[in-house]
Amino acid sequence: MLGTLWKSPAVAGPAALVERNLVIYRHTWYLLLAEIFEPVLYLLSMGVGIGALVGHVPGLGDPSVGYVDFVAPGLLATAAMNGAMNETTFNIYGKLKMLHTYDSILATPLRIRDVALGEVAWALLRGTAVTVVFGAAVAAFGLVHSLWALLILPGALLIAFAFAAAGLAVVTYIRSWQDFQLVQLVMLPMFLFATTFYPLGVYARPVQIAVECLPLYQSIELIREPSLGVVDAGVGWAAGYLLLFGCASMALALRRLERTLVP
């Protein structure tokens, strides 16, 4: 059953593309280390360093939550986001505009949707790999307290999917390397203000609503709640939001790619 599914064109096409990327990463796997290194540095400087000053985070249900426990899941969600989105923005831009990789792939039986699904599947794998290694580092710091933390893995998969698809939609609008500055102009403030480093409670209510609309905020909720051991409806909301966000992005990306890649 699984064997025939694997061989059906709907799966085999995207799988061939994942395989291509895997072969390339056999040569350049060390690039992934940089992506894991970054959140580890943040964890050390913010979580451990500033955490020593802050102590416990006020305004949360459980007053015993240390600052580093609070920051780690935020960084984990961010790592999943960056791991996936770097792949579908920077790397795919190179393949679209510089290397013309897809021109030769689309001359084979593969279709544009196979390419799109394959790239998103790959970015999802990559985002998850980054999260798992970073998660292991977090666990090694002794920051995992609850069995709910097992929900982090499917959560990271969902975050990676949502941002991989969003990245794929974004990359179709990019005209030159300079345009990546505009992407940074959105991503950096989102990273800083989407409750990565402090709880939502510090904002006035109107600002809170705006922050709650951000996909990174929902991603952080999805990871933070289970890792702090408080799982409520918020997790369900976040999962629903990200699923919808990812699917809508995917649909847009497919439509845009059809226009970009069909000569």
Partner: protein
């Protein structure tokens, strides 16, 4: 009657520019058929619509009008099935530069859903065919232009295609690399692979093609074997005369009327005549004194010049 593999009737391609503007007709209604085992060439200058036609035949670019059947299938509905049986060599090499030579073949074969063991075996044969055995484990970046071209061709053969499409296969290569490539393509032809190629080199078309269509401004202006085209549209020989630049116009007036036809190019005069030596004697009798005079057999370049009044490569 041999099998018809490709049939085009009134085939058109219109490009609508992004963000408005008048649409341009890259291919303006062409008819052609390609039969099994044939080497079929599109000859024409840049912008004639050759590459656009190739992309439609490759089932990559949708047609705008007319009818196109490839291997008995409609590319609009059976794109993947058609592409499974085609090999495609695009104008610019689109090899995976992050992969080694062998990996390029292995990965590409997977796009056709071939089992890994089958691809490994074929890759070894193809590396030998492309004379790249020594380079198998090197990065593509280390290859010369000619080697890359051969690898691109090897890659396009990984699915053992019925038809091989080559878009300007030797553009930008040095003469040695071109000859090696022609020899390899000739070998494929002998193995029964149907070749469809575009070129703006007349020598390439003469070397490789059984049948040629000459394209200009999106239309077919002539069709036939290289020999047929020359005998139909040209004299047997051509006399090339060079004069000092400032005297060429004057000399052209003097020699007008000699041979069948006179063509004035920026740097030389071409006199079309069945007997070039006779024509040269006639030129001398007019008192014109060319710097150099050369009698040669007429070629496809002359056919193109006769049909369009322009040379193939500007």
């Amino acid at each position: 009657m041999a099998d018809v593999l490709i049939e085009a009737k009134g085939l058109r391609k219109v490009h609508a520019p992004r963000g408005g503007g008048a649409p341009t007709e890259a291919v303006a209604g062409i008819d052609f058929t390609v039969t099994a085992g044939e080497a079929f060439g599109f000859l024409g200058p840049n912008g004639a619509g050759k590459s656009t036609t190739m992309r439609m035949v490759a089932a990559v670019s949708p047609i705008s009008g007319g009818r196109l059947s490839i291997l008995g299938m409609d590319p609009a509905t059976h794109g993947p099935q058609i592409r499974a049986r085609l090999g495609s060599v695009p104008q610019d090499d689109t090899l995976d530069t992050e992969l080694t030579v062998r990996e390029n073949l292995l990965v590409y074969g997977r796009y056709f859903g071939l089992p890994r063991a089958v691809i490994r075996e074929r890759a070894a044969q193809l590396l030998e065919f492309a004379r790249l055995e020594d380079k198998a484990d090197e990065q593509v970046e280390a290859l010369s232009g000619g080697m890359r071209r051969r690898l691109t061709i090897a890659r396009s053969l990984v699915n053992q295609p019925d038809i091989l499409l080559l878009d300007e296969p030797t553009t930008g290569l040095d003469p040695q690399a071109r000859h090696l490539l022609w020899e390899r393509l000739f070998r494929l032809k002998q193995q029964g692979v149907t070749l469809l190629l575009t070129t703006h080199y007349m020598d390439e078309a003469e070397q490789l093609c059984d049948r040629i269509v000459v394209m200009d401004h999106g239309r077919i202006v002539a069709e036939g074997s290289p020999r047929q085209l020359i005998t139909t549209h040209c004299t047997r020989e051509v006399l090339e005369l060079r004069f000092p630049a400032d005297l060429q116009a004057q000399a052209a007036e003097k020699v007008a009327g000699i041979g069948d036809r006179l063509e004035a190019l920026p740097d030389r005069l071409l006199v079309y005549a069945d007997d070039g030596e006779d024509a040269l004697a006639a030129v001398h009798r007019t008192g014109a004194e060319p710097l150099t005079a050369l009698v040669r057999r007429a070629g496809l370049e002359d056919v193109f010049l006769t049909l369009t009044g322009r040379t193939l490569v500007d």
